[in-house]
Structure formats: C-alpha cells, structure tokens
C-alpha cells in the first residue's frame, strides 16, 4: 500500500508520519510537495501536523488553498482515505472536508503532553484494530485544538457515530478535567459522513514505541492496512 504525506511549508510531523508508514507498517511512503498536482497514485493521503504557513490568519486557512489540496479533495470525494492529524485536521476543516473548526485552547496555552483518548467508534477504516471503549495514550502538541461546531452539527456527529475519539480523564470519563483544550463534548477526532476522511488532534504517528511512552498508535495504522484495498 502506498501512502502520500503532504509537506506544506511549516509542516513538522511529516517525517514522523513517513516513519510510521515505512518503518512501523513496512509499507511505501512518499512525500507530496504542496505545490505539486500529482498524488503519485497513492492509496492514502496524510495531512501531517505542523504549522503550515505559520498559522497565519487561522491555522490551516492558507494551506487549504495549496495547489495539491485540489487533488486531495478529489481523492477524498472518490471515497479514498485521507488522514488529517493536528494541523492536518485544521486544514481538513478549513477545506470543508470535515465539519467544524479548531479554536485556540481554552486555557490559551500550547499543550504538549501524552493524553488519554477513548475509542468511541471502532467501526471505521482507521480504528477497526481497536476495541470500542479502549482508552489509549497518545501525545498531543497544539495551541489551537479546541474543536467546535454548532449544537446541531455536534448532535448530528454524535447521532451518526462520527465522533471517533474523545478525551477522557484517568478514570476513563469524558470530563472537563480530562479535556486538554476545552473542545466541545471532549471531541478529539471525527470522520466525515462517508467515513473515509478522519481528523484528529492527537498524534498516533508519535505513539509507535513503548520506549518513547506509548505504542497505542500502531493499531491506527494497522487498521488502514486491514481495511483499505491497495
């Protein structure tokens, strides 16, 4: 299977994503330059973390107009998988691939720390290798991660099981204490209506080795391998 990782000016997690694919999964990874128009026949697109265009205007607002995004949107509209991690989530929301938006953390501070997230839906191409309700340790590193949407959109996301990950506290409850950025309803990750585009603030590509704190990100990538026909 071939994964394409888009590098925008200011991306900084593209190498982590590359390593997750090439080393952990043993699959093919290529970098896709933001000015290119060719997705090089990849099966999966990753919009990685970072600070594309310096987060000018709003996080993801400028990257969304990068030349390659037209092809990424066409790829998503064909039903092919797109993963937006952190800044990639922000870009996917700005591009309209996912509903809602990501605002400055409620405590106004950048948070870089491992957090607990619960798998709310394991019936997606990104989570099938997890147990439903499993609590994972995955790092976050963001200043603008507070997912928000109007109440109607939030209700629709819940009703259609599109909330994939939720922040939880040490007892596994989706409480305010367990929420590192003040996101609506503790939401950490969602999928689009057709289930092929996921956006999440936590970094599964930085949780691949117990020696570095957690290997809970591995099933995320293995799920894609198990569900996506190359």
């Amino acid at each position: 299977m071939k994964f394409g990782i888009v590098t925008f000016p200011g991306s900084n997690s593209d190498y982590d994503a590359f390593r997750a694919v090439a080393d952990t999964l043993g699959e093919t990874a290529v970098y896709l330059w933001h000015k290119d128009h060719d997705l090089q026949n990849v099966d999966v697109v990753i919009l990685p973390g970072g600070f594309s265009y310096g987060d000018y205007l709003r996080a993801g607002a400028i990257a969304r107009f990068s030349p390659i995004m037209r092809e990424v949107e066409a790829h998503a509209n064909r039903g092919a998988p797109v993963i937006g991690i952190c800044n990639g989530f922000q870009i996917a929301c700005e591009a309209g691939l996912l509903p809602g938006a990501l605002l400055k953390n409620s405590k106004l501070q950048f948070v870089s720390a491992p957090v607990a997230i619960r798998v709310e839906n394991n019936d997606t191409m990104f989570t099938i290798q997890y147990e439903r309700g499993a609590v994972l340790t995955i790092p976050i590193a963001h200043g603008d991660g507070r997912f928000t949407a109007d109440a109607q959109t939030l209700d629709m996301l819940e009703a259609s099981d599109r909330v994939v990950f939720r922040y939880v506290d040490s007892r596994g409850n989706a409480s305010p204490e367990g929420n590192p950025n003040g996101s609506d309803r503790n939401i950490a990750g969602i999928v689009n209506a057709t289930g092929n585009v996921i956006g999440l603030m936590p970094h599964p590509e930085r949780a691949l080795d117990q020696l570095l704190g957690s290997a809970d990100g591995i099933p995320f990538f293995e799920s894609i391998l198990a569900t996506v026909a190359a």
Binding site: E94, N105, S106, T148
Partner: protein, 85 residues
Amino acid sequence: MSSFRVSVHITPRRGILDPQGKAVAGALHSLGFDGVKDVHVGRYIVVETDADNATAAEFDVRSMCERLLANPVIEDFEIESAATG
C-alpha cells in the same frame, strides 16, 4: 479603476467561548475597570485594492471574507465603507 482601502473587523462569533477576550476582561478588572462586562479580541484587516467604484471594492472584500479572511463557523465580520487611497 481607482484604488480603495477597505477595512474589515473580524470577531469571534457570539456564543463561542473566547478565552482570549475573557483573559483580557479579567486583566482589566484587576486594573480597576469594574464596569467592563465583556471583551472580544478579533482581527483587523486592511485590504488595498483596485476596483471600479467603492461599492465594487466592498463587494470584492465581502467575497474575500466569505472565502478566506473569516471562517463562518467561528467568526463574524464587519466591513467598513471603502475609502479612496
């Protein structure tokens, strides 16, 4: 074609938690400005553009706001009258 300057005020949409505004309001209270009820921190953008007339310049900037300068999910915007310049 003439040159115009069009100013835009972008503020967090009402009803959406604005922690920056809350923090500034708290600081103003601690300075003794007890009358402060709420503060909204936003963005001020000046677009210098060529257009046929002021109405056309404002129309263009409205479209810019809808497509890029503001995010309708989280922000409101207000456009000031275009000034020649």
